[in-house]
Symmetry: C2
Subunit: 335 residues, 2 copies
């Protein structure tokens, strides 16, 4: 009763590196994690948003990635944990404490435990590795640095710490630029450079995160941009703008305030010299011809798990085609 | 339609000072707070139990007093808050954090806020004053010191930090003594001495707390025992032992391990030279004659609010009779 053998493509065991911020980036990171073999994905997380609040080390992007990859995220808010309770905040309010930054009871354990272990001398990357392992996450989530980088937003009222701008002021002040304080002295986590030098690295994916506040802090780390350029693996960015709008968050508002045209092309231009390929939404396909690099267009809005996996496959396929030097949907070919 | 005037005793506006630990002491403190005019009661709280846990400053006796006086206490446990939720602990457990010391979500706000404000440079007494005011407590809860005193328990296995002995080891190791580390260098809160010098101080009440671990740390502060002795107000202790048993906690077990007879007399002997009067339970009335100081016997078990108020009245009445030099139930008179 022999059956016809289905020809199987051998599983691609090459590692993949992704650069990510919070919400949007984490969606694609989850897609990548689901289609790649276990432990083949390393996600480098922006830590420029990190800040000390109530004496606790809060790392919003690390936490969003952790919760998303552990299946513990709150899909309604995009931050924090699902099935959350809020007794701590209610009690803190009674005591006259600072409540502008919402910390759920379950979420709080992450901040307290991280802070305790950092005080004991453990590095942020060691702590993250252990806590994500305990939550059953096979993907490696790597803080971009164990040092301290603090994103500040330049506004007419002066420089504002990122979380105060983002949460406290709800992104209201118009933005004229960004400062990544400490980035010049911070060292990228050594495993990032080590991965970038691997000859078998399959792809470097820049997730559809905010380029200015989620990806640029990573790129601001000394030597990292050069190390990305020197890597043999293709660098693929996924556009965070669809038909002139950001799916979530202040990307479009910021671009507009910075005097930039709010479209996927502008983001590609922002990454010029760094990326080898670009994935943008079908809605923006008319722009593909305007880019002088391999472009793939597809549905980039990630609503379902299948959307996440699909976009991850498209980005990796583009990388593989660039590596093979064949079958590219080159914008210039189409032009 | 004139009614017959009820002769009213003019309200006694003199201040009262109480020394207290947690559970048992807080019950009497509540009784005192309810029968005294607002803001006339100051409760000096033991802080020898304080410790740093998860990077947070935990002050068990201060918190129990605060929750009891605010009506927020959990009457079943004797510690923590009522209507508590436990999401933080559940999440901390997932992360492999230390869970031997239970911290409820609402309770946690107290520790986080206290720790944050201490780091900012505020003193424990300033923070306590503000937080208790916000919870609507008219009574002043005063930490015995703004310095650091750490109670350690001497056992065959060596000195053990109090909370590890009390919560972690559930008081299992036999006790041979206590060390109040830092007490020799700590300064009693200056307002304690100031109150003790007031000519109108009505009474100093030593609450029915554990003498060894709740009251002795207070008495170990430099000059405090002398200041109590020098005060014009009578010092009244309320026995924490009823018919040879402690109502709650390890007092009886400790006395037994220290080679002491477990009864109310032994506690009175422990306070010899310090107290001017003693309140003990009716069950122990036969012992009253054995004490060479004014004694009052009454129901000392505090189950209802009325019990708490009644015991507070008895203790204050004894103090008033000692001050007046009349009407004392002197044990020696009865003998």
């Amino acid at each position: 009763m022999a059956e016809a053998a289905t020809p199987l493509r051998p599983r691609d065991e090459r590692p993949v590196l992704a650069l990510s911020g919070g919400v949007g980036g984490a969606k694609l990171a989850l897609g990548l994690a689901r289609i790649l073999p276990p432990a083949k994905l390393t996600v480098v997380a922006n830590t420029g948003d990190d800040f000390e609040h109530l004496g606790l080390h809060i790392a919003p992007d690390l936490d969003t990635l952790t919760y998303v990859l552990a299946g513990l995220d709150n899909p309604e808010t995009g931050w924090g944990r699902r099935d959350e309770t809020w007794s701590f905040m209610a009690s803190l309010e009674e005591l006259g404490g600072e409540t502008w930054f919402r910390l759920g009871d379950r979420d709080l354990a992450m901040h307290v435990e991280r802070t305790r272990r950092r005080k004991r001398g453990e590095s942020l990357s060691e702590i993250t590795a252990d806590l994500t392992r305990r939550l059953g996450i096979a993907t490696r989530i790597l803080p971009m640095t164990d040092g301290c980088v603090s994103t500040r937003v330049r506004t007419p009222e002066g420089l504002i710490d990122f979380q105060h701008y983002f949460v406290g002021l709800k992104c209201a002040p118009p933005v004229s630029g960004f400062v990544f304080a400490g980035a010049d002295k911070a060292v990228p986590h050594p495993d990032i450079n080590q991965m970038l030098r691997r000859p078998d690295l399959r792809a470097i994916i820049i997730c559809p995160s905010n380029p200015f506040i989620s990806i640029d802090p990573i790129l601001a780390l000394p030597g990292l941009r050069e190390a990305l350029a020197a890597s043999r693996a293709p660098v693929i960015a996924v556009a965070p703008i669809i038909a002139g709008r950001a799916v979530k968050g202040p990307t479009a508002k910021m671009m507009s305030e910075l005097g930039l045209k709010v479209d996927a092309l502008t983001v590609a231009a922002h990454y010029r010299g760094l990326i080898d390929g670009y994935v943008m939404d079908d809605a923006d396909s008319r722009m593909a011809a305007m880019l002088d690099l391999p472009v793939e267009t597809t549905r980039t809005l990630m609503q379902s798990l299948e959307d996440r996996e699909h976009l991850a496959r498209v980005a990796l396929d583009l990388a593989d085609r660039i590596t093979a030097g064949t079958g590219m949907t080159r914008a210039t070919d189409a032009g």
